[in-house]
Each structure stands twice: as C-alpha cells, then as structure tokens.
Symmetry: C2
Subunit: 650 residues, 2 copies
C-alpha cells in the first residue's frame, strides 16, 4: 500500500496544504469594528431572500395583495427587534459562548439540550444550503447568465467553501470587513436614494412592473376570506427568514474582546437595527417601484395578455429595487447585486466555522462519533467540515437550489432553536430570582425575564404559524431531521457510556492482569509458500507451549499435495487437516480454535495468519478475502490473539 | 459481529436454500431429445427479435423498402447455414467443449485466446440483456400491459434468473424440453397455417397494415442510391442477430451423450434448419400480411394522415404474424406470444450456465480474479453468477431495455467470436494437413477447411458490415469492452504469475526457515482500559526478549494522565511516549517500529494491538479507525508481526 497514501497524500497536500504543528492553534480576538462585519454577513444576508419570500407568497393572490407587503415586513421587524433584545439577555447571562445549546441543556435538561443541538446542526446545514443557493441566483443575475446553471453554481460554492475550510485558511478579517461594509454601504445607498427619490416623486418603476400577476385558483377574493388570511400568515412566516443569523452572535461571544458580553450585546443591537432598516426599506421600495416577484413566472406573470418570454430571468427583489433606484448608474446596481452574492457566500462560510466546533464539542461529550472531535492535519475539524459540506450539497441538489423550498426548511429549524433558547432563558431567570430576593439586581433580572418571555411568545408564535402553514410544504422534513438526529445522538451517547463502563478497569485490577498459563500457537496454512514458511518461523521463534499448522480441506487433491510438500519441508511442526464438507474455510477453523480454548480456558491461543502485503489497493481485489473473514470471526472468540505475519515482496 | 452474519445468513438461506455437500456435484448427460431443446432456446429465440430489426431498419426508407425484407432474410439464412456447417467441423475437431476459447487459443495463440474469451464473456452478458429485454416486450404484449413497465420487467427477469441460478436449481430437463417443443410447435403452426392460407389466398392483413410508414429524411429515394444500399446492408447486419446462440452448442459438447461430437453436430444441424425455416417463414408472412414495425411509432407511423394514438403498443413482428395468421383463435396467438417470452427467458438462462463456468476456467488459469473460481455453498460459481447478473442488469438499465439498441452491441460481440473461431479452425486444418499427407482423412480435412474458410469469409464480412454500419450506433461500446476486458485479463494473469514466482519456495528452503534470533514485543497503548491490560498480559505470557508499552502523545494532558495511571497499575512493563507534533497517530509509531527493526534486522518485532470486538457492524462507525491504518502500514515493514488482541464484552 505504498502508492495510494502517496497519491492521496499528494492530492491532499495540493488541495489543502502542508500539515500544521499543534502549536499554531491560537485564537485571535476581534475588536468590535471587525466583529460586526464578521457576524453581519450571517444576520444581514437574509435581506437577500426574505423580501422575495414575502412577495412571492402574497403574489399568489394577485398584484393587489402584494400591497400589504410593508405591513408583513413590519410584523417581521417587530419579531426581529424583540428577538434581538431577548438575545442580548442571553449573551449577558451566558458569555461563555455555549450559545443556545448551553442555555437549553443547563435550564431545560439534557434531553432538551440534545434537541437544541440537533436543531442547531440542522440550521447550520440549511444556512449553507440556503445561502449558497441564493448566492448562486445573485451571481447569475449579476453576470446575466442564462437560466439554468444555478444548481451547478450553488454546488460549486459549497464545494469551494468546504475546500477552503479544510485548508483552514483564516479569512482575512480585514477583507471580510471591507466587503461587508461595502455591502452595507451599497444597500444603504439604495434605501436612502430610493427614499429620497420616492419623496421627491421621481422614483422610476421596476422593470417587472409591466407584468400583470395572475391570482391563483382559490384566491379569487384576494386577501379576504380564510384563504387570504392564511396567505398573509404564510407570508409573515416566510418573511421571518429575515431573523436567521441572529443566534450566530450569541454563539460567538468568546471571539469578542473584553468586555465580551457587552461588546457582543452592542454588536447584536446594531445588527438588529441595520437588518430591520434594510428589510423595511427594501420592501417599501419594492412596493413603490411595483416589483413583481412570483414563484413560477411562466404561469403567474402575464405581459399584455400573453405569457412572459421563455428566457425571462426573475431578478431577486433586492436586485430589482437596486436597478430601479439606481437606474442612472446601472454598474452600481450590478455591483450591489454582486456584493449581495458575496455576502451570501460569507454567510454560508460562517456555518463552516460554527458547525465543526459544535460537532466537536458534542463528540467530546459522547453525543456524536469520536471522529468529529479530532483535528485534522491542518488543525481544523476536517470530519465536521466534510459532513457539513456533504449535507448542504445533498440538500441543494435534492431541492434543485430552490431558495423558496430551502427557506421553508430553514425557518422551522431556526425558530425551534429560538423558542427552546428563550424558554431556557425564562427558566434561567426564574431560578435566579429564587436566590436574588431584592435589590437592583433583582429588578434587572425581572426586566430580563420579561424581555425573554416576550421573545419566547413571539418565536413560539412564529414557530406555530410556520408549522401550521408550511408543514406539508417541507417543514415536516426539518421536524423529522431534528428529532431523528436527536435520537441518534441520544443513542450514540448511551453506546459510549456503556462501552466505557465495560472497558473501565476494576478498582482491584488483579483479575485483569492475571497471566494466561500457556500459549498455544496455530499457523493457518492455505498453501505452502514463502509467507507460510515465514509465519511458521516466527511462530517457532516465540517458543509457544504447543505449535501446530492447521489447514482446511477444501479440495482433496490439493490437500494431498500440500501434505506431501509439508513433509518434504521437514519442519518440526505437525500439519493438521480439518474437514469441510461444505467447502467453507472459516467455520471449521474457527470451530477448531474455539474447541482448543474450551479445552483449556486459562490458556491463550495465538493464531498466526500468513499474509501477502499488497502494494496497491487494487491488488487486494485479486486476493481471496477469506482471511479477513476468519480474523473477524476469531475476534469474537475470547482468549485468542490473531497475529498477522505480512510477507513483503523484496 | 455476531448479528450480521446471522441476519445475512438467514436471508441467504431463505433465498438460496441450505448449503450443499461437495459430494452432490455430479453431471447428468443429455440424450439428444433433451439436448436439442436445452440448446434450442438460445439458438431459436433470436427469431423473436431478428425480424423486428430487419423490418425497422428497412422501414426508415418507407413501406415499399420493407418489401425487400425476404431477400435480406435469405442472405442471413445463407450465412446461418454456412456458420452452422462450419461449427459442425469445430465440434468434431474439439469435442472437449472448450469451445471458441479453446480453438482460438490453441491455434491463434494466447493473445487471440484472451480476446476470444473476452468477446465470449461480453456475449454472455449481452445474451442475458437482449433476451430479458425482448422477453419483457413479449410478456408485455401477451398480457396487454400498458407501455412502460418493460424496463422493470426486464430487470425483474435478470434478478429472478440470478437468484434461481444462485440457488443452483437444476432446471428440470423435461420441463424445458416441453416448453421448447411447445414453442417450436406453436411457431411451426403459425408458419404452416400462414403458408397454406397465403397459397389459398385467404391470409388476412396484420392489424398494423392500416398504418402508413413515413420515410425518414435522407431516404426520399427509397432503397435507391448510396443511402438506400447502406440501409439494406444495415438491415442485413441487424438481421444477423438470428445467428446468435449457434456457438452455445459448440461450448456444450461435454453435456451430450456418447458419441458426443456426432450427437452435437446432428443437434447443431437440426437447430440450423429449424432456425432458418422459422426466420424465413416469419419474414415472408410478415411481408404478406403487411406488418408495419418501426423504431419510433409516434413519428414514423401515420394513420389516415394523423399520428398513431399515444397509447399505441407496437407488437413484435412474430406476435403480429401469429395474430394475423391465427385470427380465428386469438387465444392461440396469445399463447404463441407468451411462449416466445418464456423461450427468451430460457435463452437468457443458458448464459447463466455458460458464463460462470467460463469465468471459473479463466480464473483457474489466472486470467480472472481467483474469487470466480470457487464454488459457493450451493455448489455453483456464485461470484460468476452475480457478475453476470449485475452486468446484464446495468446494460438493460442504461439502454432502457431497448432491444434494438442492445442488439447493436450483441451482434458485434457474437461475430467477433465467430470470426476468431473460424480463423482458428482454418489454421487448425492447415496445420493438421501438414502431417496427414494422403488418404480419405486428408480429403475430409480439406473439405472441412473449405467449410471453415467459407464460414470465416461470411462471418468476417458480416463483422465488417456491422462495424461499418453500426460503429457509431453502439458497436464501439462492444469493441471497447472486448479490448478492455482482454487487457485486464492479460494484466491479471501477469500479476498472478509474478506473485506466485515471488512466493514460491526456494529449491533450498533453508533461508526461508531461519528462525529470528529474538522477539521484541510492543503493546500499542491509546488509553488504559481492560483491552490494554489484557494485551499486556498476553504479551507477557509469550515471554518476549524485550517488552515495552508505547503510546503516541496526541494531547499532552491526556498523556500525563495516562502515565500516572500506568504507574498506578504497577506492571513490570515500561511505557514509552512518542512525540507527534502533527497530531498523527500512525506515522510516529510506525517509524519507531521501523527503527527497532533497523537496529536489529535479524529479530522479529511483535506489535500487540488491543482491540474492542464490536458486536454489530454499525458500531464500527463509532470507534476510531486509527488502528486499521497502523496495521496496514505495519504490514509494509518487514519482520513485523501484528498481533490483534480482541476484547469481547461479557
């Protein structure tokens, strides 16, 4: 097997770089001006898709229904502000950065903690899937690509992020900050210029304003009636996608400079304010410019009585608004669109920072397979990064990079996390209040509890609305995933606990250390060639109490030849032939070894297995795998040592 | 790993039955009246698809072009008769049943032999794929299924045959004979009744005669011009599919009763005559009843100016003829159609007899992996059966059970075999004639050589025609497969030869038997738990010259804890700690072992690896696989024995 590791190694080195020494593991702390942009990508990028979801949901009831979009956005902003205020309490109470996972398990018990971690992992995967897909659409718009390559583009983004993170490339904080500030500046410019032009009365129409929106069957009354009411609720639920990313700050507290909690809380507040402004601004301007955005342009849009052109590419709402507002400087609008794509990629990247760390922590506590806990050569949690990348790529692939369908799954996960965490916080304050009976601290705690309770009410409401309006439209997948992963985690934890109890040394380890009285050695013989002779020599060198060679008679003629050759070899080791009426190799041999052990249970049996050390993995296919099976079965027999004697070609 | 084998075993027993004792391997010899039907299915079943291929190819140039179909069929019959006469010589000259493989390698050398074997294996796979697909279409017709389930049906047939053959079920010769005779009777009846009604002038039209056939672009002149001429050649090449199956008799000579060669030759002659009659009869009647059969009914058929109904199911030519001729007794026509399907399944089954035996012979001679040579529990060559089943299923799947597309591949393979084998025979007679200088035997040989040369000319011509007219339509796949498999076989053979030379004992085996002077034992320690303690105890029990425990420092804190616990354990074995700046487990350890060996090259190093014996395969996922890697790397170090010490839960 000399070659393969070399080839794989070379490829790995080329892609990922040389291994890093453990000492290089240091943590750089972020000043606020860098922390804001680092977390901003995740929290603000949702403005790239949340307005789209509001518009396309309302558009089911026709163009007039879209007019209520600012009210829906306002409702989302109210929830956003409440949740931000609420999370500022979380950050202050749990500055260690355990985030939702820690809050929930400390206050609601380990079961709820498992559920919260599971939801958080699902959220990370969906963050990548949603952001990469939305990013692909923005890049497609900015580069004016024909419709179609979004799926490939989105998968490419996921692959790229996976490789970059496996390399362990530290994002230059300055570069990220520059891009994020540019994005804030660009979108801020759009909102301000748009507002001014609107007030002055010179705001142009969006290019899609010429289309008519066909109300879908069942929505003939617009937003009146039950169907209409439910539609507004659905739009609100979809728009809540704008809240995703808020929790990232809470999980990242340790990355802030001192005073960590306060700096994190300030950053969170700032992000909330910026996000709310952007969302409201975009939706108001989209309404003012008459933006049309629907689920399926081919059937829902009509141009002068006929369908839209087949190659019509629907530009995201933010992009349409930018183009309408900045109609004099199209390159600037294209720039804002492209920047939005970049910010979405950065948002996906934050999950690549968060997920592997979370998985590693969970693995350390025995909730996930141990392989997720170890750092690879580049000092990153390689297995976690690969898991995240594969999970996100599969989701993108299966849902065809459709942001709308992915967002349905995303919101459920995010609001499950929010709700559990707020519930945990309410419990936290209630407990704390039991000991803190008076004074200003008590007042502060009471106020904090009110804020968290308000957050809980809001997020729980949204969660219920989402589940009710979206359950059949994909929300069940997330629910199933969260519960399923939670169940697996519980099971894994139980398994590790059991194994480690089984393997722990007894307080008086004398029993474990008792030496076997004798050693019986057996050499497994299939043919008589150099490896066999070498195995016999090594077995003899270890001077066992008894030594014999054993072969299984698969073919009578061959066995007779073997016996003859064995006699000619003239070694002082008898050859025993085992019968095998069913031409099995492993069963008779393993039974024989088992019998030996039964006869003398205090002895140990060492089985020497001659092996040919293949040089290349594919050579393995050309050798019988029967010894693999024998070794596996012998592993189940107590008191047996399987000694492989590899023979190398010179 | 207790459970899995049990579950797999139970499933295997349920599907395949209990294992068989070696003694049950006996061979039953076939009298002629049973041999004819056994081989008939393969040779005659081609009449089920060969006419279809002739018709659909000619139909590209419109309905009038189809009128030449009997002439094309006649040309095919001429080739068929020649090849049969030629193969009768093969059978007489090589009665041992080595078939084409033996003839080619004996006369044209091992390289050509490899190519012939490769072609033969490809043919077997294609026999299954073509017959199962055609069978599925016949069953679909007989059962009047809606269009669509053919792919599933064909895959089902392949799966069924794979399972039946893995079970090793001996087909009741009587049952097969009954079905085959019924098929011959049924199709014979159709031909005779059809001929009589035609001569009496009362032959009705086929139901598809009402359609018009639209000539395809490029064939506006019908069969005139170059395009038309090539089309007739293509039709001839496609019709040559009727010859497939002839070689099966030559490979099956040992199954005949004595005098084997003569009985086989008689059977071959009979089959040739029956096949030729059926083919010509079917094509003549199809022309007389105005059968329409095209590649794509939706675009090529027109009914009263409009396209055919969307749910139109195109019935195979033989089926259409049967329905037209037997229009008074439709159940009989349906019976003939269904029987044809059954015969096709039996034809596919013959490949399941031939392929595994061929693969086993090739594996015995080192041309294929050894696993193909061993008989499974049910005394059949299980690996060969599985390989054939998977190969055929993949082909059926990829080509969507399209008989037309599969036949393109099939013909190339079959005619490659034919041509090589005839060439070998010509060479055979030429050589034999060198020694046989006079007498009646010489005359017989000269006559035989003429026959084989004629066969060679015919089959080579067809092969060239097929390659020229079909190369881009799929023939290249077969060419590539034959050459590719041939290359792999040559390489495998070379590999086995090299390995067995390397491993063969020296004439004076003293060097091999020299005992190592000392034994150094090392226990690999990761953590201190029961498996480690047991490994240490077993290592001590074998009383090595030196014994030490070795651990790799992945995490400094953990190592310090381990050292402390080790001291507390109080065993007379020192613990050595190896540094690992890059957090690798295997490299420092393997380097250490390598260093030990370098210091004392005449000693042997035994590495004891404590292992936890998992009970279920999925538990393996929860344990670090690092020892697997260490063991694999140690296998490359000469003079090292890897002793696994498994620890079982009580």
């Amino acid at each position: 097997m000399r070659d393969v590791p070399d080839v794989v190694d070379a490829a790995k080195r080329g892609l990922l770089g040389r291994p890093e020494r453990t000492e290089r593991l240091v943590r750089t702390l972020l000043p606020k001006r860098l922390a804001l942009p680092v977390f901003a990508s995740d929290a603000l990028s949702s403005v790239a898709y949340a307005p789209d979801e509001i518009f396309l949901t309302l558009a089911l009831a026709g163009a007039s229904a879209v007019l209520v979009s600012p009210w829906v956005a306002l409702a989302v902003v109210v929830v956003l502000v409440t949740v931000v205020a609420s999370y500022r309490q979380n950050v202050r109470a749990y500055p260690s950065g355990g985030g939702d996972h820690e809050i929930v398990s400390k206050n609601l018990g380990p079961r709820a903690g498992v559920l919260a971690s599971s939801a958080l992992m699902v959220d990370y995967v969906l963050t990548v899937a949603v952001s990469a897909s939305a990013g692909a659409h923005y890049f497609g718009t900015a580069l004016e690509l024909p419709h179609g390559p979004e799926l490939a583009l989105a998968c490419g983004i996921v692959l790229l992020l996976t490789l970059v993170n496996l390399r362990g490339t530290r994002q230059s904080g300055r570069g990220v900050a520059l891009l994020t500030y540019a994005f804030m500046l660009g979108t801020g410019l759009v909102v301000v210029v748009g507002a001014v032009r609107h007030l002055l009365g010179g705001l142009p129409e969006a290019s899609s304003a010429v289309f008519e929106v066909v109300p879908q069957p069942g929505f003939d009354e617009g937003l009146l009636g039950l169907a209409g009411g439910l539609l507004v609720l659905r739009a609100f639920a979809s728009g809540s996608a704008a809240l995703t990313g808020v929790e990232a700050v809470a999980n990242g507290v340790p990355l802030f400079r001192e005073p960590k909690a306060r700096n994190a809380a300030t950053t969170l507040g700032l992000l909330g304010a910026i996000g709310a402004t952007l969302l409201l601004g975009t939706v108001l301007l989209a309404r003012a410019t008459g933006v049309r955005f629907v689920e399926d342009p081919a059937t829902q849009l009509v141009l002068a009585g006929g369908p839209v052109p087949a190659d019509y590419r629907q530009v995201p709402v933010l992009g349409q608004v930018a183009h309408a507002v900045l109609d004099g400087v199209p390159w600037l609008a294209v720039g804002v669109t492209a920047l939005t794509g970049v910010i979405l990629v950065l948002a996906a990247n934050t999950a690549f920072n968060g997920f592997p760390v979370l998985a590693s922590v969970l693995a350390r506590h025995g909730y996930l397979p141990r392989q997720l806990h170890t750092r690879g050569d580049r000092l990153v949690f390689s297995n976690g990064i690969i898991t995240l990348g594969v999970g996100a790529a599969v989701l993108v692939w299966v849902l065809d990079a459709s942001v709308t369908r992915l967002v349905q799954l995303y919101i459920v996960g995010v609001f499950t996390s929010f709700t559990l965490s707020q519930l945990g916080m309410v419990r936290h304050w209630t407990r704390a209040l039991r000991t803190e009976l008076s004074g200003p601290e008590r007042v502060r705690m009471l106020r904090a509890r009110v804020l968290n309770a308000l957050g809980l009410a809001m997020t729980a409401t949204v969660l219920v609305v989402v589940l009710v309006t979206k359950f059949t439209r994909g929300a069940w997948v997330t629910v199933l995933a969260i519960v399923g992963i939670g169940a697996v985690m519980t099971w894994v934890r139980r398994y590790y606990t059991r194994v480690s109890a089984d393997l722990a040394l007894d307080p008086d380890p004398a029993a474990d250390r008792a030496l076997p009285s004798r050693v019986h050695a057996i050499v497994l013989v299939a043919r008589l060639h150099k490896p066999t002779v070498r195995a016999v020599a090594y077995a003899r060198a270890s001077r066992p109490s008894t030594l014999e060679a054993v072969t299984v008679a698969l073919d009578r003629g061959e066995v007779a030849q073997l016996e003859e050759a064995w006699d000619a070899l003239d070694v002082p080791v008898p050859l025993k032939v085992l019968d095998s009426p069913y031409r099995e190799l492993s069963r008779p041999f393993v039974e024989y070894v088992r019998g030996l052990r039964r006869a003398s249970p205090r002895d140990v049996v060492v089985v020497y297995v001659p092996e040919y050390a293949v040089e290349h993995w594919w050579e393995r296919l050309l050798h019988n795998q029967s010894t693999v099976r024998i070794k596996r079965q012998l592993a189940q027999v107590p008191g047996v040592v399987v000694a492989a004697v590899p023979y190398q070609r010179d």
